[in-house]
C-alpha cells in the first residue's frame, strides 16, 4: 500500500501542475468535449494543453499497455488516477468511442497487426470512431441485421443501411456489424469489420432528435470496400465481439446514473426556497430525497462493480444491471430536474436558459434506456444469464 500512496501523491501533484484551471470546470455536454480525429479543432488552448499533457503520459487510456499508447497502469493505479482527477474536477482529456468500445474489443479479439495499427491512433486521438450496429429493422433484435458483406477474397463489398450511428458525420472510421453468411442462423453469420468512413460509397444523414440535437445519423453503404485485414475476430463469429463490446458500452452508459454537477437538492433549495428547514414543495422534496438515496447507493454499486471485477468475482452479465439501473436513474434525475426548475426549465430558446440546456438534456436522457440495448433487453439478459429463469 505504500507504493500506491506514493503514486497517489505524485499523481495529484502532477495533475495540479498540468491540468489548466479551465479544464477543472464542468464541461458543457455539447460544446466542451474533446473528441479528436483527423479534422479535430480544439475549442481552446487549455483544451489542447490538457489533452497533449495526458496523451504524452498515455493517460488518455491509463490502463492500456504502453506499447499501444497507453499508460500501462495497474487497475489499482487507474482507480487512483480516476479518484484524483475527480477530486480536482479534471475533465476527460479525450472522449472517444475508440477508447470506450472498440479498444477493449481489439485488445481481446484483435490481431497483433490490428492492435498496432489502430490502438495508438485511438490513444493519441488521431482517429475518431463510430459504431455501425443498429438497422431500421434490427433494434433490440440486433442479430437480425441485414447489411451484407460479400466476400471478394482479400476484401468485402458492403451494402446496406445503419441507423443511430452516433457522430457518423464526424467520424473517420467505423466498426461495423455485417452479415457474411445469409444461410446460417441469425447469430452465426455476422462479422465485425473496420473501415474508413471516407471510403467511396459511404454516405451519412443526420437524424434530428426530440432534444433538437442531432448526434445520430443514418448511414448508407453502397458497394463499400473493406479489407479483410480489418476483420476483427473470426469471420461469421462477429457476434462474440459485438457482445463483448456491448458490455463496455453498457458500463459507459450506466455511468450516467452517477449524474454530476450541483446536487439537485441544493438546486431545489435555491430555486424554490426552504421553510422550517425543509423545501417549500413537500411532495417534490420526498421525490428528491428518494432520488438521492438511490443515486448515492448506485454510485457505490458502480464502485463495487469495479472492485468485484478487480477481485475476479464479477458476473459477466453484471454490466446489464449497471446499464439498466443507471439509465433509468438518469431519466428519473432529469424528470426531477425539470420538476425542480418549473417554468424556467421549459424555455427552449433563450440566453437565460442557455438555449434550453435543461429541457434538451432531459429529452436526451430518454434515449439512455433505448441505446446500447433497451432496458427491456437488459432485463432479459439478467433474467437469462444471472437468474437463469427458464425460457428467457
Amino acid at each position: 500500500m505504500a507504493d500506491i500512496e506514493t503514486f497517489r501523491r505524485e499523481t495529484r501533484a502532477w495533475l495540479e501542475a498540468n491540468c489548466p484551471a479551465e479544464m477543472r470546470t464542468p464541461p458543457d455536454e455539447e460544446n466542451d468535449r474533446c473528441w479528436g480525429g483527423r479534422n479535430w479543432k480544439f475549442k481552446s488552448e487549455a483544451q489542447r494543453q490538457w489533452f497533449e499533457a495526458m496523451r504524452d503520459r498515455g493517460w488518455t487510456v491509463p490502463d492500456w499497455p504502453k506499447e499501444y499508447g497507453g499508460g500501462g497502469l495497474s487497475k489499482e493505479e487507474t482507480k487512483v488516477l480516476r479518484q484524483e482527477m475527480r477530486a480536482l474536477n479534471c475533465r476527460a482529456p479525450l472522449d472517444s468511442f475508440g477508447i470506450w468500445m472498440l479498444g477493449p474489443a481489439l485488445l481481446k479479439y484483435g490481431t497483433d497487426a490490428q492492435k498496432k495499427e489502430h490502438l495508438p491512433k485511438i490513444a493519441r486521438g488521431e482517429i475518431r470512431w463510430c459504431q455501425g450496429y443498429s438497422e431500421p429493422g434490427a433494434g433490440s433484435d440486433l442479430a437480425s441485421l441485414q447489411t451484407r458483406a460479400d466476400d471478394h477474397g482479400d476484401h468485402f463489398i458492403i451494402n446496406g443501411q445503419k441507423i443511430w450511428t452516433s457522430y457518423a458525420d464526424k467520424a473517420d472510421w467505423i466498426f461495423c456489424l455485417v452479415r457474411t453468411d445469409f444461410s446460417a442462423k441469425k447469430h452465426e453469420g455476422i462479422s465485425f469489420v473496420l473501415f474508413d468512413m471516407a471510403s467511396p460509397g459511404v454516405t451519412t444523414r443526420p437524424i434530428l432528435l426530440i432534444s433538437g440535437k442531432s448526434p445520430f445519423c443514418e448511414t448508407f453503404f453502397d458497394n463499400v470496400k473493406a479489407l479483410k485485414s480489418n476483420l476483427v475476430g473470426v469471420q461469421n463469429k462477429g457476434w462474440d465481439v459485438a457482445k463483448y463490446l456491448l458490455t463496455h458500452e453498457r458500463d459507459m452508459i450506466g455511468a450516467m446514473g452517477l449524474g454530476g454537477g450541483r446536487p439537485l437538492g441544493q438546486v431545489a433549495a435555491d430555486a424554490i426556497g426552504v421553510e422550517n428547514g425543509v423545501l417549500d414543495a413537500p411532495v417534490l422534496r420526498a421525490d428528491l430525497a428518494r432520488l438521492e438515496v438511490d443515486a448515492w447507493a448506485f454510485q457505490l454499486a458502480m464502485e463495487r462493480a469495479v472492485d468485484l471485477s478487480k477481485a475476479g468475482q464479477s458476473h459477466p452479465a453484471y454490466s446489464s444491471f449497471l446499464k439498466y439501473y443507471g439509465t433509468e436513474l438518469n431519466k428519473r434525475r432529469h424528470e426531477l430536474t425539470m420538476s425542480t426548475l418549473g417554468s424556467d426549465g421549459l424555455e427552449w430558446e433563450s440566453a437565460r436558459s442557455q438555449e434550453g440546456d435543461a429541457p434538451r438534456a432531459w429529452l436526451r436522457t430518454k434515449a439512455n434506456s433505448i441505446e446500447g440495448g433497451t432496458s427491456e433487453v437488459q432485463l432479459n439478459i439478467i433474467t437469462k444469464r444471472i437468474l437463469e429463469l427458464p425460457g428467457a
Binding site: S134, G137, G139, S140, D141, S144, I163, W164, I207, L208, L209, I210, G212, A271, I272, A281, P282, V283, L284, D287, K331, E335, M338, S339, L341, G342, S343, D344, G345, L346, E347, W348, E349, S350, G356, P359, W362, L363, K366, A367, S369, I370, E371, T374, S375, E376, L379
Partner: protein
C-alpha cells in the same frame, strides 16, 4: 350526476373531435413551430372556433356566448390535447371568460361579447416564481390619484405576447386585485418565451404602469375569489387536455406495439410490455373518472370545486406523465426522433403538468385540506 356523457355532450365531443382533428392535427403544430409563426396559433382557426360556439363556451347566451358548461369546455380541451393544438381557447375562453363572468359589470359583459365573437384575446399574468405559487405575489398596485401604479414581473403568461388585454394579479392594500392592463401601455414590457412544447408563453414586466380606476376587474382587494374560480377552471381544463393527450399517446403506442416486429414477432406480444400497457390503461381510466367529476362539479357546485379539481389535475399529471414516458420508451429509437410525433406529446405533457401546479403541488394541497 352520472359519470357518463349525455347525448348532447356526445354530439359535441364528436363535432369537436371532427373539427379539431381535421383543422388542427399535430401537423398544424409542427407547421407553426417550424415556420416560427409569430402569433403561435392560427387566427383564422380561432375565428372558426368562435363560429362553432367554442370561444364563448362559458359565456352566457345573454352575452353572446353559446352558454354551454365546463363539461363541454373540457371536451374541447380534450380534443385540443389529443391534437396538441395551439389555441387561445385555454387563456381566453376558459381563464379570461371565467374572470370576466365572475367579475361582472358592464365592462366585463361588453368584453365577454367580443370574446365570444373571437375578437378579444386575454392572458392571465399570475405566477412570479418558477413553480406555481398563487400565494406568492409580489407585484403591487399602489393607489395613485384616482387610479393605481403597477410594478412587478410575471412569468409563464400563456398567450401573453398576443393578448389584447392582460389580466394582472397584483397585491393591493388589503388583498389581491385583478387588473385589466393594455399590453401596449407605457411601462409594460412583454417578452415571448419560446417553450419546449412550441406553445405560447411570455414574461411580462410592469414598471410604474399607470392604471385608471376602471382597470380594476371586480372589486379592489376582491381578486382572490375571482382568482380561485379562474384557477379551478384552468386546472380542470388542463386536466382534460392532459387526458386527451394521454389517451392519444396511448393509442399511438398500442398501435405501434401491434405493428413493430422484433425477434420475429410483434413487440406487443411480449408480456413485459403487455402488463405495462394494461397498467397504463387502468391509470388512465382512474384519471378519467376524476376529471369528469371535477368538470361536473364546476357546473353544479363551483364553490365546492377546489379539492376535486386538485384531484383531477394531480391524477392527470401522474397518468399523463406515465403515458408519454411509456410512449417514448415503447416506440424505442424512432420515438426519439423529431420526425415522429410521440416526442411532441411528451413535450406538451411536461408543460401542461407544470402549469397551475403539478401532481405534487395538488397532492400537497389535498393533504393540507385534510389536515395532515
Amino acid at each position: 350526476m352520472a359519470l357518463v356523457l349525455t347525448e348532447e355532450q356526445n354530439l359535441l365531443r364528436d363535432s369537436a373531435r371532427g373539427f379539431i382533428g381535421d383543422k388542427a392535427p399535430v401537423a398544424h403544430l409542427r407547421k407553426l413551430r417550424d415556420t416560427r409563426d409569430e402569433t403561435g396559433f392560427s387566427r383564422a382557426l380561432w375565428k372558426e372556433f368562435a363560429e362553432m360556439g367554442f370561444a364563448g363556451v362559458l359565456v352566457s347566451e345573454a352575452h353572446g356566448g353559446s352558454g354551454m358548461g365546463h363539461m363541454e369546455a373540457g371536451l374541447v380541451m380534450e380534443e385540443i390535447g389529443r391534437n396538441l393544438t395551439p389555441s387561445p381557447f385555454f387563456a381566453t375562453a376558459m381563464l379570461g371568460a371565467t374572470a370576466l363572468n365572475k367579475a361582472g359589470g358592464a365592462r366585463a359583459n361588453e368584453l365577454l361579447k367580443k370574446l365570444a365573437a373571437g375578437d378579444l384575446l386575454l392572458a392571465l399574468a399570475l405566477d412570479e416564481k418558477s413553480k406555481h405559487a398563487p400565494s406568492k405575489i409580489d407585484t403591487s398596485a399602489k393607489k395613485s390619484g384616482n387610479g393605481f401604479t403597477l410594478n412587478g414581473a410575471k412569468t409563464f403568461v400563456v398567450d401573453g405576447h398576443v393578448a389584447d388585454l392582460l389580466i394582472v394579479v397584483a397585491r393591493t392594500d388589503n388583498g389581491l386585485t385583478l387588473f385589466l392592463v393594455d399590453p401596449k401601455a407605457k411601462g409594460v414590457a412583454i417578452e415571448r418565451t419560446v417553450m419546449v412544447d412550441a406553445h405560447n408563453a411570455a414574461r411580462a414586466t410592469f414598471d410604474n404602469v399607470a392604471l385608471d380606476a376602471d382597470a380594476v376587474l371586480g372589486e379592489v382587494d376582491g381578486g382572490a375569489a375571482i382568482l380561485e374560480a379562474v384557477l379551478n377552471v384552468g386546472r380542470a381544463g388542463l386536466a382534460a387536455e392532459l387526458m386527451g393527450l394521454s389517451e392519444e399517446a396511448f393509442a399511438r403506442t398500442t398501435a405501434y406495439l401491434k405493428d413493430r416486429k422484433q425477434f420475429g414477432k410483434a413487440i406487443g406480444e411480449f408480456q413485459g410490455l403487455q402488463h405495462r400497457a394494461a397498467h397504463l390503461f387502468c391509470e388512465l381510466e382512474v384519471t378519467r373518472a376524476a376529471v369528469m367529476r371535477a368538470l361536473q362539479t364546476l357546473d353544479e357546485a363551483p364553490e365546492k370545486a377546489g379539492p376535486i379539481v386538485s384531484l383531477a389535475k394531480s391524477r392527470a399529471c401522474l397518468s399523463g406523465d406515465l403515458a408519454v414516458r411509456e410512449g417514448v420508451q415503447m416506440h424505442g429509437g424512432v420515438g426519439m426522433t423529431d420526425a415522429f410525433d410521440i416526442g411532441l406529446f411528451m413535450k406538451r405533457a411536461r408543460v401542461a403538468q407544470e402549469l397551475f401546479g403539478d401532481a405534487g403541488f395538488h397532492a400537497d394541497r389535498i393533504a393540507r385540506l385534510r389536515g395532515y
